[in-house]
Amino acid sequence: MSCVTTVGIRSGRVLFERDELLAALSSALDVARAGRGRVVLVSGEAGIGKTALARVFCEGVNGSATVLWGGCDALFTPQPLGPFLHLAEGASGSVTNLFEAPKSASEVVEALLGLARAGAPLILVLEDLHWADEATLDALRLLARRIGTSSALVLATYRDDELDRSHPLRSVLGELATSVEVSRMAVPRLSPTAVAHLAAESDVDAAAIYRLTAGNPFYVTEVLAAGGAEISESVRDLVLARVAPLSLPATALVEATSIAPPSLDAALMLAVRGEAVDAVEECLASGVLRVVNGGIAFRHELARATVEEALMPTRRLALHRAVLLALADADSSSGDLARLAHHAEGAGDADAVLRYAPAAGAQAADVGAHREAAAQYGRALRFAGGISESERADLLERQSAAHYQTDEQHQAIAALQLAIECHRRAGDVRREARALSRLVPQLTCPGFIVEAERAALDAISLLEPLSPGPELPAAYGAMAVVQLHKDDLEETIVWGTRAAELARSDGEDAILVDALTSAGYAEVMRDGPAASGTLEAALVLARRLDVGVARVLNNLAYGAVLHRAHGLTERFCREGLEYCADRDLDLWRLSLLGAVIRSRVDQGRWAEALDAAQILVEDPRASPEPRVAALLAFARVRARRGDPDAHAPLDAVLALEPQWDELVWLGPIGAARAEVAWLEGKHENVASVSDRALELAILRRSPWWVGELAYWRWKAGIQDGVLNGTAEPYALQIAGDWRCAAVRWADLGCPYEAALALSEADDEQALRDALDELYRLGARPAAKMVARRLREEGVRDVASGPRASTRENPARLTNREVEVLHLVTDGLRNGEIARRLFVSPRTVDHHVSSILRKLNVGSRGAAVAEASHRGLLEDR
């Protein structure tokens, strides 16, 4: 163990005003020790004492737990999974090589949870998450998901005042907020009393210190160290004043340390300034630097940043050069690529940047840190003045792929377009065409369909005159994707089939999966779920190759949703969500959630639809399509219930501003707006909100959208007669055959639509049935219309609200509660149940407490016993 010079708050290990926080950490550790692991997010401004808190807590644990300690570095582009590469045992112990070169966040999490299960509880401290790379954030997310069944306690610290709206940590914090295993802890400033205690031994006026520092412990320490001579100075001046009296070699050492966060190791010290080693003692004695893990570092990051900023530009350049040389000479492992690239840029050394940054980018991309990968390629491109078009194109393509992975679509498109220009200038037609094909899905995703079609056409016309190669089926496949986004099913099948034939004969399996997926999806959309042969074949192939599985399942789910095949939707969504959860494919997971939401609205499971919709709208990573599905669910369900605020989500949809003129957008949006207008009795608005959508639906021969849009127009009195190509149940309704339509809707499992069909009857019993069903669904506005018709026809004793029996039955468990109880019986925790049922953990929490109350028991175990005693769990 190396010695630690802690000059934190100087009164030894005593922290002022942190007792409550320490007690909360202790009880979190107790819970973790009992096998219910926890994550505690510790936040506060720079200098507030987050590290000191973690250190004192870990020291207090006294060996009853394994403590591992890792921190994120203040590099512009950090090392992927950096905190896990240099884990220290305890706050100051030697570095353990738990991971040589981790391949992914999940590998890291697996190993850590393995440790936590093996013996004593594990405390993992992760510092400074505001600097974390993307893979580290993924690891934190995975840890939080799985920690509940381990005996690990994760303390993760971050500066909450450095998170702007788009900071990647924000979405992670948002996601973790819903988890019961995660709690937050804000470290407050010190009170005037505590500052007075700290200042007791100095002759500085405590009130003046408090005024200057506002109770920030780091500032208080600096002011006290300055002896109060210049109490009015800024913190910057205080820090520099502490460095100023040092000898020249000591100053050089301090400066070198400042440009090499987080620490300068012994080898680097020697290499950078051999004679400065003698100055180490001087630096340590002055309290500017401290010893860490076989190297030296600043006592606090704020001090490091201050010294670095104060360096003259030429001095900084020289220091970066020296460190770069030393690192490069050290025959360093590939683990230091990010550091090498950092110093190469600082040294302004273009050759070194081009040597290290692309390699660091590739390494980052390998472990899923795509944001850092994009930044490394961007760094290389800034120094790419002297390289060939082909090399530049390569960097741009890799940067584009990294942006695409992090859903930075506009940057991804821009980089790929630049790459295409490079290929064109270099006269490399095949690579230009390949890049054009790759551009297509990037353009269709945010809705640039016209541009996507142009790119696909360009690629095809470049390739068709050439000899055959793998680029042509890829271009045909890209064209199929374009046609799919235009909802032109016939054209999708033509291009997809053409691509599949070529890809099959060339043995291009990945392209084949893609082409079969497009063509197969179009077949399902056109002919219904029974025609899913091609798509199922694509699924088998995709599973075998493990490529494109999420896309196939997503397409199967959306195809089933459109045809109101709810059983199939649930099956494909369940398979898809499991697949995505295992691989952390969040964008596909969110997309599948969109299908779940639509299906539940159609099934009359409105509360559950909105539970899932809430999860989706709160996730900034959701793409437009599922986000629109969620917002429209809010609008439709509110309107159907007669709740307020149905228009706010519609306005939010229109404010999203992708390019709208395609059925894939206008179908659902037009249908929702038409239904809301009809329910509000604004029949005159129904036409204008659905005109274009209906036009497109007819043009694209889409029976379900033709049917639904025509139906609301028929209800509003602006549509007579059945249009060609209308889906069956709607055609029956518009033709006046409400009885068959109601049966058909009931068969499909769409109770609201079935009740509306009954409400179109001229038969008193059917109208009464419609009324009961609408009240049961909580569809007040439609129920009111039916009640009014019954009264107008002279019917007496028309119910004016739901019958008491359907409204209140406190002793009985709802179907959902029974479902939750089954999962509780299986031993699942709330977080797992939430993921299984696509709802938030808080909702599960509510269900569980409702179950306990209804069964009049005090614990989950007792609930299971009571439920099986009462026979509630038998009809599984």
């Binding site: 219930r641 609200g801 409204r807 407490s849």
Partner: protein, 97 residues
Amino acid sequence: MELYVILRRGGWPTGDHLREAAARSTTEGARMADDVRWIRSYVTAENDGTIGTVCLYEASSPEAIRAHARNAELPVDEIVKVADTVIVRPDPAPVAA
């Protein structure tokens, strides 16, 4: 948070039932403190002899009100958003239940 009026007409046969419901409502409200805040209620005497309420809540969304009602087993007939508040006089002394 927006302000909403919630109608729960004829939800309970007796005052005792209502009091039990109020206790559940308070417990549930404490659990959902970020999403719903119960401001006040007027208990209504319905023509059929049952008891109902007109409640004033602050809530993050209509769904939050429904979730609260579902968990506390309260009926909801109608949720209306409050656009403006005009207070002419303070409430008179509470009427004994």
